[in-house]
């Protein structure tokens, strides 16, 4: 609770100026929320955006909803906030002899915050719910590896089964998973929110659950006022080792991240996890060392419409390489993004680490800025298809216009032609996506990828495998597909990573997409709180924040 604001009495209508009037309404400065003093009872206020979809684990595919799920759920695995390694959370052990049949043992003693025990049933029921077509879960494809998925979620027509045949409950705490193909890193994907367990209350009354979600994480939802605020409080009986270090989190919906930033500067908000691009220039002056800028598993690329003859022709490869060489990544990341992006030199992300498959420089000189080489390559490739490239992007969010224009300027300067490249803004993200899915693109377009889990597989397969869900350019290469299949079947992690990197080299040799830059997560926080960090999904590690 903040101090009570003195009610204003505009007693005299002659108060002619705004300032005089506003002065009668004194509001207290400073964000004096309750608690504090470092005893772990203080509440942190944090910026939030209105989740786009209902807050179900298998229906949430964007960061804002993901934030909440990350606080109220704990799955079989959890990704270490620092290293990204998948560590056992509720999983006692996950055993397999063939990378296709897994036996999962759930730790005993875990509960949902309503008192229900977390059992093998909690997982199996939740996964069946998520995969089932009739529930319209947008992340259903995560269960696509599990045997029987095609019956539960057919590509067309109605489902012939309600439950996945590959899931079997053995006992209260064990269940088996049979996959429809070998997938050695399957256990490591289980930290993703879609695989969270669900309590029986969810199935009994979904609407009530959505109005006030119940999970098994360190926080419980105290109140949820949809579209404006969610109050989460530390759950006292949480059995896990990662108990909340604070009393709770108040997520406040901001329509505009500029307002959130202003509130932070004015001391009315503790944490902003999305610094607006316009403020990146003065964030250091405003916040000093209370500004965090850490790498996240996000890469921006330019994809090409390979369904268009003009772009799929053999010799156009040189044009694609030329375009890549015409982009001065360093200058753009420095001037527009103030080092919150790093020029990309491969198609993955540094957060994977060397062992995880990140290989800086894999792109070779194709990603080095060299205007002369760019011009030469494009000429050799027969010039730009249609004489001009239009880079499409969605203009509604994310300051994409600035960087697309900058990329175009860079290419135009390299080619000495101010008309060579222009941006093609598309009004909304929905429209942008629908034009992509209908294969209506006529030139390169923005393709951002935020990882689901920190595996090199997640940076390659969904994006470049034939007909994969995010293969927006419809690129297809049998060698790449074969290498990915081999890598997925490979049980030895180092070998699997090596195979994935070979597959990545196929992407490079064809310049299937131009890597632009790795994106960082950026956040700023108030003097009230400390021990703030962002994990690799650019989400604050809420449970470790200390107040006072």
């Amino acid at each position: 609770m903040r101090g009570v604001t003195r009610a204003t009495r505009a007693a005299r209508a002659t108060a002619a100026t705004a300032v005089a009037l506003a002065a009668t309404a004194t509001a207290c400065g400073g964000g004096g929320s309750s608690g504090g003093g470092g005893d772990g009872s203080g509440v942190v206020s944090s910026s939030w955006g209105d989740p786009q979809n209902p807050l179900e684990p298998a229906n949430t595919n964007e960061v804002q909803g993901g934030k909440v799920l990350d606080m109220i759920f704990r799955g079989l695995k959890r990704y270490n906030a620092g290293t990204g390694a998948a560590e056992d959370m509720l999983a006692e052990k996950i055993e397999t002899s063939d990378s296709q049949n897994f036996k999962i043992t759930v730790k005993g003693g875990w509960k949902f915050s309503n008192g229900e025990a977390v059992t093998a049933h909690s997982f199996v029921n939740a996964w069946n719910y998520g995969a089932s077509l009739k529930n319209n879960q947008k992340n259903a494809y995560f269960f696509g590896y599990i045997d029987g998925y095609d019956k539960v979620h057919p590509d067309s027509g109605s489902q012939s089964a309600d439950t996945l045949s590959g899931l079997k409950v053995e006992s209260d705490l064990t269940f088996t998973v049979k996959l429809n193909q070998k997938f050695s890193t399957f256990p490591d994907t289980l930290g993703y929110a879609a695989f969270a367990p669900l309590p029986q209350t969810f199935f009994d009354d979904r609407q009530a659950w959505l109005a006030k979600p119940v999970g098994n994480g360190p926080y419980a939802v105290d109140s949820y006022n949809r579209g404006s605020q969610m109050s989460l409080r530390a759950w006292a009986d949480y059995p896990g080792s990662d108990k909340a270090q604070n009393g709770g989190i108040d997520l406040k919906v901001y329509t505009d991240n500029n307002t959130a930033y202003t509130d932070l500067i004015a001391g009315n908000l503790d944490l902003v996890d999305d610094i607006p691009a316009a403020q990146l220039g003065n964030v250091k002056a405003d916040l000093g060392d209370r500004y965090i800028n850490t790498p996240a598993g996000i890469i921006q690329t330019l994809a090409f419409p390979f369904y268009d003859k003009a772009w799929s022709d053999e010799k156009v490869l040189k044009v694609r390489q030329g375009l890549s060489r015409g982009i001065d990544r360093k200058q753009i990341t420095d001037t527009i993004f103030h080092q919150t992006r790093t020029p990309a030199t491969d198609w993955t992300s540094p957060v994977l680490g060397e062992d995880g498959g990140f290989k800086g420089g894999l792109c070779g000189d194709s990603c080095d800025y060299d205007p002369d080489a760019a011009k030469k390559l494009i000429d050799e490739g027969g010039g730009l298809p249609g004489g001009q490239v239009k880079i499409s992007y969605n203009a509604d969010t994310g300051s994409h216009k600035e960087w697309v224009d900058a990329v175009c300027n860079s290419i135009n300067n390299a080619l000495g032609n101010s008309e060579a490249c222009v941006g093609n803004p598309i009004g909304t993200f929905a429209d942008f996506r629908s034009q992509i899915t209908q294969s209506k693109m006529s030139g390169p377009f923005r393709a951002g990828w935020q990882m689901d889990y920190p595996l090199i597989q997640n940076f390659l397969q969904p994006l470049y495998y034939t007909n994969a869900s995010s293969n927006d350019g419809k690129w297809s290469d049998p060698d790449f597909d074969k290498l990915v299949d081999q890598a997925n079947a490979e049980t030895d992690q180092a070998k699997a990573v090596g195979l994935f990197q070979q597959a990545e080299e196929v992407v490079r040799d064809n310049m299937a997409a131009i890597p632009l830059w790795y994106q960082n997560g950026s956040a700023g926080y108030s003097e009230r709180i400390s021990n703030v960090a962002l994990n690799q999904f650019s989400v604050p590690v809420y449970n470790e924040i200390k107040v006072g």
């Binding site: 509001a27 400065g29 629908s434 992509i436 899915t437 869900s469 995010s470």
Partner: protein, 307 residues
């Protein structure tokens, strides 16, 4: 009078249908909204088909419109993509925006008319010139500049207000946003009142009232104002609708979760049901406000009689 009201109400029907149809078509023209729901992936075909069915997007547009309007008359405004019924969104958004609009209208009436009367009575005096220049400045500066400047000065630099309004949006927190929202209209109201007062000051009835020896307060208050306010009332009446629908910018700056916020969100996500639902209500507000203004004429000026 009664027949006039009925006629006006009947005239509302085509306007209402036309406005909603236009909005419906505009949102629909933007393309397929479902594609935006799956993030950077293509929704798998079967899920997309299911969702289209759920939101009624699988039928031809004319049929969608008819179904939608049919549902509206039973009080069902459909659901937003996040699973909330649109009526729920309205229940949370309209009270906030109405409060904000009331604050803005209050400022318009009180400050605008007061300044208008003062300047109208003292034409050519320094105070008149000063207010005229000031209103000109206010009219020429865009709302978002005023809003951001006040937010920065009062909220961050001096700490008199909170830069953002809390979810409950109590009246005292709406003073500055209300002022920002009202500012342009306020300037117009001042100028309108001033002109109107200055014109009527020389009218015969005012001279008579002064000659009768009535106190100045009564001359201005009863005789002069009552006649001068007709154009001002018209303006304020039409402004109610404009303020409610046009608060998008102000609401964004001060993070007020009202109609503007929901409309913005709806347009961004191409959620036809949200946008059309809210606009439908706004159109009704517009029409009713206009009718009330016309009826007020008769109260202000007995010579205006509606047959």
């Amino acid at each position: 009078m009664g027949r006039y009201v009925i006629r006006r109400l009947l005239q509302m029907i085509p306007v209402f249908i036309g406005a909603t149809l236009l909005i419906f078509l505009m949102v629909n023209v933007m393309g397929d909204p479902i594609a935006g729901l799956c993030g950077q992936r293509a929704c798998d075909a079967s899920t997309a088909a299911q969702l289209e069915k759920e939101f009624g997007l699988d039928k031809p547009v004319w049929q969608q419109y008819l179904t939608y309007m049919g549902n509206v008359f039973t009080g069902d405004f459909g659901t937003a993509f996040n699973g909330q019924p649109v009526t729920e969104l309205m229940a949370s958004a309209f009270p906030v925006t109405i409060r904000l609009t009331l604050v803005a209208i209050f400022f318009e009436i009180v400050i605008g008319i007061t300044l208008g009367v003062i300047t109208g009575m003292r034409r050519g005096a320094p105070v008149d010139t000063g207010v005229l220049v000031l209103t000109l400045v206010v009219i020429s500066v865009p709302t978002f500049v005023t809003g951001l400047l006040l937010q920065l000065l009062l909220g961050v630099e001096w700490g008199w207000i909170r830069p953002s309004v809390s979810p409950g949006a109590p009246l005292d927190e709406l003073i500055v946003p209300g002022l920002v929202l009202a500012s342009v209209s306020l300037a117009y109201v001042t100028r309108l009142t001033r002109t109107s007062i200055a014109e009527n000051r020389r009218a015969d009835y005012v001279r008579t009232a002064v000659a009768k020896g009535l106190p100045r307060r009564r001359v201005v208050g009863r005789h002069l104002l009552r006649n001068s306010l007709i154009p001002v009332i018209t303006f304020i009446g039409t402004d109610i609708g404009a303020l409610m629908g046009g608060a998008i910018v102000t609401e964004r700056i001060f993070n007020i979760h009202g109609v503007g916020y929901q409309l913005y969100q709806g347009i961004l996500r191409q959620n036809t049901q949200t946008v059309v639902g809210f606009v439908t209500v706004l159109v009704l507000v517009f029409l009713v406000a206009n009718l009330l203004v016309d009826l007020l004429y008769a109260v202000l000026d007995p010579r205006i009689r509606y047959a």
